[in-house]
Symmetry: C2
Subunit: 251 residues, 2 copies
Amino acid sequence: MTIASHALTPMLRKLRLWRHLTAREEEALLNLPHHVISTDRLQTLVNDGDVVSHAWLILSGFCVRFKIVGDGGRQILSIHMMGDLLDLQNAILGVADHGIQTLTKCEMARIPLAAIKTLTDVEPNIKDTLWFDTLVDGSIHREWVANVGRRSGKTRVAHLLCEFALKLEAVHPGDQLKYELPMTQEQLADATGLTSVHVNRVLQALAADGLIQRVTSKSILIGDWKKLATAGDFNRSYLHLDAAVRRAGTS
Amino acid sequence: MTIASHALTPMLRKLRLWRHLTAREEEALLNLPHHVISTDRLQTLVNDGDVVSHAWLILSGFCVRFKIVGDGGRQILSIHMMGDLLDLQNAILGVADHGIQTLTKCEMARIPLAAIKTLTDVEPNIKDTLWFDTLVDGSIHREWVANVGRRSGKTRVAHLLCEFALKLEAVHPGDQLKYELPMTQEQLADATGLTSVHVNRVLQALAADGLIQRVTSKSILIGDWKKLATAGDFNRSYLHLDAAVRRAGTS
DNA sequence: CGTGGGTTTGACACACTTCAAAAATAGTGG
DNA sequence: CCACTATTTTTGAAGTGTGTCAAACCCACG
């Protein structure tokens, strides 16, 4: 059985961004026990408060993590895609402090935390890699705090579009200047702390300025990456996508 | 030399919240090489973009982590106090994605990342504990995303006051219904994504409703914890303060 | 072809911002 | 312990980005 034929392969592509893994380590990761599930669109996989004992790996499709606040409002905390190991945080913390929902139909692998623990206990480099992965997650959270806390509506949306394009590019190389954004304007609003009505107007404004083109309602084309990044006050460093490169270069 | 006389003792009080540590492990943590620094108020210890090779442990005083956005606005990302191991994130990620600044005069211990790495490589339980610590950090970030993204000004400020009281209580047991909040209204504004003018009005409103009393400009007294928690849409679970208790009970 | 989710529009409301000045407080040195 | 200054808080008035509500429109899909 070659590596490519393993179900969990997408995870490797992601983890390799953070650290070098030996062939043996990659093999061990691929051999993690799991079972694969096909989900519907808009399916809630984990609820805030759940006792969690599994991690979810996205094999295909898109998910979000979210919180519901007191007045019923919803805040999306992060957007995830192929290769993302979701909910390791919840699993290790034991009790979920947020929910997880699919945006599209997904293929997900459900991996018992116990198996991950067993593996990381004998493979320190894997533990470090997973730790690193959760740290990058934290870094993205921090950027989002700044995004919803201190940026204008237009800037927030532009920033989100940039982040999505870059994350997509990282796990799915190819020119991601045009992509399908699997989110309704309402979901975009939940991610940026705006209302769907305002998101609609912002998207129109971005299109009017030529920063994006709206091919269909779900498909956007970045008209001018540099301008969009500027408008979105976007600096990719918080994604730490160059971590492995930097590591290889300096040590 | 007894444990209590070690400079790094405050760290233990914090880490014990997350997991049980053996006497040997605690000893090893206390023996981490470090040197202690006394800082001024409003001193910037780390800047966004810095190459970081040390972690900071707060021995006394208060610090914040922050980001500056494109238009010059500042967003505070988290507030830290005695026992918090700051900047382990930045250190492991290698390049700082945010800055660190003191709010008050502080005693800080500067610990080389290399020493932490050496220690965690031979003490897996310590590595797990530090990982857990960074995961709780992430959980707090998520709550902040929801706080600044989806809550009203009044709710945001009330939420912050609740969080501060509970974190203080965790490392400094005693009744923290009255405490000194070492932040100006401008800093409060930077933490909540509001303006200082609005924070001022919100504080007056909270006081008018009897939820807090403003003893001096820096000292607040929580008039009615339950009501303040309700007004702040505050649920302590995201702080994971009961993690160690839960762990001891179930395993 | 309905039909229901998603998008778009318009008119209006308001939470929060902006600007600017006054009042209070804290810090400093004599 | 008082004067002097800088910082922080407070207040007022006016502006605006974003929210609210509600209706119309547009498709994708069964």
